[in-house]
Structures are given as C-alpha cells and as structure tokens.
Amino acid sequence: MIEINQLTKRYGSVLAVDGVSFCVQPGQVTGFLGPNGAGKTTTMRMLLGLNAPTSGTATINGRPFREFGTGLRHVGALLDAGDVHRGRTANAHLAALARSNGLPRRRVEEVLEMVGLGEAGRRRVGSFSLGMRQRLGIATALLGDPPVLLFDEPINGLDPEGIRWARELFRRLAAEGRTVFVSSHLMSEMEHTADHLIVVGDGRLLADEPLADFAARATTAGATVQTPDPAALAEVLRNAGASVLSQGHDTLTVTGLTTARINELAFTHRVLVHEVSAHVGTLEDAFMELTAASVQYRASATPGRSKDR
C-alpha cells in the first residue's frame, strides 16, 4: 500500500505539489491522472526518495522508501524509459541492477523474456526504439518481483500491441495482489486499465475515487442540434443559460440543457430544428472538465472548446 500524506514540493516560487494526500490499495490498478505539469512525476519521485518533499510524507507499506535496503525487492518502478546509459547492453543494464539487490543473474533473462525483449538482450540500449526502452523499463521494475509497482507514463511510445500487452500486464500484476500505480495524462488509457483513479491538477488533488464514480461525474453531457438558423437558436439557448458552441454552418453543440428543454425553447421561439440528439459524457469529458481549470500548458491554437464550456 502507498500512503501519501499532505505531500508538498516547492521549487522556488512554483508549488509543484500542494498538500496532496491519498492512498493506493493493493490488488487493483490505480490510475494517476493529470495534465502535463500537474505534479504526477514529482509526486512519484518523492515517493521513491529521489526528491525530498518540502513537507509531508510518502510511505510504501508503512515505510519511507529510503529505508528499504534493497529497493527492487520492495518496489519496482519505471519513471522514465530514458533513465538508462545508452552505451550498455540491456543485459548489462539489468545485470548491474539485479546484482546490487543480490538477485540471481537468471532474473535478467526471465524479465527480458517477460517483456518481449528476449532477443534484444545483447544489443546496446542506444539502438532501442522508444517502445523497446519502455519495455526495458518495465523489465527493470519487474526484476525484484516486488509487491508494489509504479509506472510513470508507461504507454508512451508503445505500439498498439504493446499497449494491449502492458494493460494486461498491469491487470495481471494487480490480480496477483500487488499494488499497481500507473500515471498517465491520457484518460482513454486509464479507461481500460484502472479500477481506481487519482486525479491531480496544478499540484492539487482533484479526485480520488473508483473509476465508475468518476465516470458518473460526466453529467454535463450535451446535445447536438441541427438547425437551418443556428444564430437565432444559439441566442435563445444562451438566454436560457446554456453554453453553445457552433460547429459547422448548421450544427450547435449545447451543454447545460436537456434535449427536451431545447425542443421546448425552439418551439416557443419558433426556430426550426431538424434534429436534437443527446450525447453521453465520457470519462474523457469528466477528466477534461475536472482539469480544465488547472491545465498549465495549453496550446494557444485550440482554446475555443474549453472557453465555451
């Protein structure tokens, strides 16, 4: 089990992590979600003793990580697939880490087989693709057969087959009773993997709940309306308190009103409507809504959608 208690990290004037508290339970996959710069990696680094927290505590099975003698036997972690010396072979990289924890040499071949790099052990890591380095990072995490596993954005660079494989691996590890904590900035990724979600934005905890509860947050499901006179209808709907977004010359996306209410308003104001269809909220929408206020690095070219919400 992972316990984070009032964890805070300040870099100069920037508050990277701001009083975050949560628990990660064994036996399930816990997704750690947040936009870029939300503080996910900083939280994981503090959990692993790499960065010292400004205040607060982070423990794994009741102990700060730095108290573990042989880390790999207690916690397996993939933080960044690039954390490898490119001049070494995959075998040598894993052999050195295994040796430091007194793990038998055969574990190296075992984990390389497990992640599908059995043939690549003698190749230098510098010649690996990003996907192969992710697999090598996952192999590193598995070396010590640990009860707690952390993966920071493990899906980056994996091909579709690799993504499916990684998903199944996380589920299998959790099914074996391990604590599996996986970070991502992609909700769609977590949808198929996680049982429980922890969402952070701008260094603060935004949500800590089962996946199903999180999905129920997407209540602002909207409606798509087709009308020959979008300008008139948009004004009517806005006056009724909806947010309206124009899409194409005859289509409006409306949130904040039910489809029945949209029909009523159109009827009473004598605006012709061709079609009103409801669309249900997705996890993605729930995530976007929740984090909209805390997105730090937003591309300036596509602000329209979130501005209208």
Partner: protein
C-alpha cells in the same frame, strides 16, 4: 485467473529488509564499469602508452649513454626519464576523466534514478562506485609503475648498471604512482558530482590537471613566490612529482617534504570522497 482473496506472501511482506550487501554493490559497480566499451579500451591504451613511453625513454638513454658527459655518467637518473613529469600530466587528466565519467555517465543519462530506486542508500551506492574506480585505477598505476621500471631496467642494464627493484626510492615511486592515479579518479568523481554535466565536468577536470600545474608556475597576483610554490606543492601533480624524485642533490626549487606529499594526496582523496558522498545524499536527482 488468480483470485484476490489470496494475495501472495510478497504483498504482505513487511519491514524494510536487510541493507544491500557491500559485495553486491561492488559487484554491480564492477559490471557497470566493464560493460562500457570505452573502459577496457581507455585503460588498455593508457597502460600500453605509458609502458611504451618508458621503453622509448630508456632506449634514448641507452643509445646516447656513450656520449654523456662524465658528470652525468656518475649520476644517471633513469627513473626520471621513465616517469617523465609532463607526460604524466596526461595520465592524471585521463584518470580524472575516467572518474568523472563514472559519475556523470549516471547523472547525464538519468541512470542515477534507476540506480537509487534499486538501492536507496545513496552513501553506500556511491562509496561502492568510488571503491571500484579506486581499485581499478590503483591497479593501472601499479602496472605502469612496475612495468615502466621493469622495461627501463631491461633496456638499460647492459650499459647503465647499478639499478634494480631494490634501488632506494623506487618503491616510493611505484607506491606514489599507485596512489596518485586513483586519487585523480576520485577528484574527477567529486568534480562531476558538483557539475553533473558531461562537457562541463570533463572541461573542469582537464583544466585542473593540465592547466593547474602550469598556472601555479606563473606569477599570480596577491601571492608571494613562496606562497605560490606552497600552493603548487599541494596539487596532486607536484605531490606525485615529489614522491617520484629519486636523485639527490639536484633539488633547486622549493619542494615539499616526502610526508607532506603523501598527506597532500591523502587529503585530496578524502575531501573528494566527502564531496562525492555528501552532495549526492542531499540532492534531488
């Protein structure tokens, strides 16, 4: 599929476990050092180069001996030629670079994070690395010392007699070389720990070992000549230079005593290790 009701024993295992064994940490650093292609190449080239330089110097002495003036023939100094000071500055700089690369290779690549996730006890990890670097460079220094003198003896003995492995001072020279090479490596490790960037670390190491010994020979502001000489004598290069000096009666400069030279090398080693360990222990990586 495994049921959740029976988690494996590992998941319920408590306690922090025993600290990583020294034997395993040394083994891990040994694997790291030798799994880089550059290690055997650089060490091999250094050993061959300095043995060749000793051979070449001895050959020159041997060939020119009949033309030497009488006073020189009375007091030959073959060790001075085999262990030529300016040529050994390059050995020191390279040993420093090897030490620096052992640290910067981890920081620049990010491997340091994987290393410290595997073994969170930072002090033990970096001490194991320093031990391995020290041991390997000490062997290099010993081989260059013994080999260089052995080759010199083999080349000159039929013309220049009276030298052997029992000549007074030769073991001080060999021991000094065996100590000096790893001390340079440790200085390199400390430099790289402070700088962490590959190019910056290598530049600083080269500047320290190649420019430093020359810089103290130039006029420095605010320092008297004696102070400048004392400063120079604390540098590892001149400490080694003092230990390797076997001839007698020719010392015209202000040089340190033999014990002072040993102390100087020891202090450089200790300070370097302290910097390397304490800085890493306090830093976010």
């Amino acid at each position: 599929m495994t049921t959740l009701s029976t988690p494996p024993a590992k998941a319920t295992r408590h306690g922090a476990g025993k600290p990583a064994l020294w034997r395993d940490l040394l083994g891990a650093e040994w694997i790291k050092l030798w799994s880089l292609r550059s290690t055997p190449i650089v060490l091999g080239v250094l050993l061959s180069l300095y043995l060749y330089l000793a051979y070449h110097a001895a050959q020159l002495d041997h060939d020119s001996y009949p033309t030497w003036p009488a006073f020189a023939k009375l007091d030959p100094d073959p060790a001075h030629d085999a262990f030529d000071f300016p040529k050994f500055l390059l050995l020191m700089a390279t040993a420093g670079t090897i030490g620096a690369m052992s640290v910067v290779g981890e920081h620049a690549s990010g491997l340091i994070r994987a290393t410290l996730i595997a073994v969170p006890a930072r002090g033990r990890v970096i001490l194991a690395k320093a031990t391995v670097v020290t041991a390997v460079l000490a062997v290099l220094g010993l081989l260059i010392g013994v080999g260089g003198w052995g080759i010199t003896l083999a080349v000159i003995s039929d013309r220049i007699s009276g030298f052997s492995f029992t000549t007074p001072g030769i073991w001080r020279l060999i021991a000094g070389t065996t100590v000096m090479v790893p001390v340079c490596g440790l200085i390199g490790m400390a430099t790289a720990t402070l700088i962490r960037n590959t190019a910056g670390s290598v530049f600083a190491v080269l500047a320290f070992f190649l420019v430093g010994p020359l810089a103290v020979k130039a006029r420095l502001p605010l320092l008297s000549d004696d102070q400048r000489a004392d400063l120079g004598n604390t540098l590892p290069a001149y400490a080694w230079g003092r230990l390797k000096t076997m001839s007698h009666g020719h010392l015209v400069e202000r040089v340190s005593s033999i014990p002072a030279a040993w102390i100087s090398l020891t202090v450089w080693a200790v300070v370097s290790v302290v910097i390397t360990v304490t800085v890493l222990r306090r830093r976010d990586v």
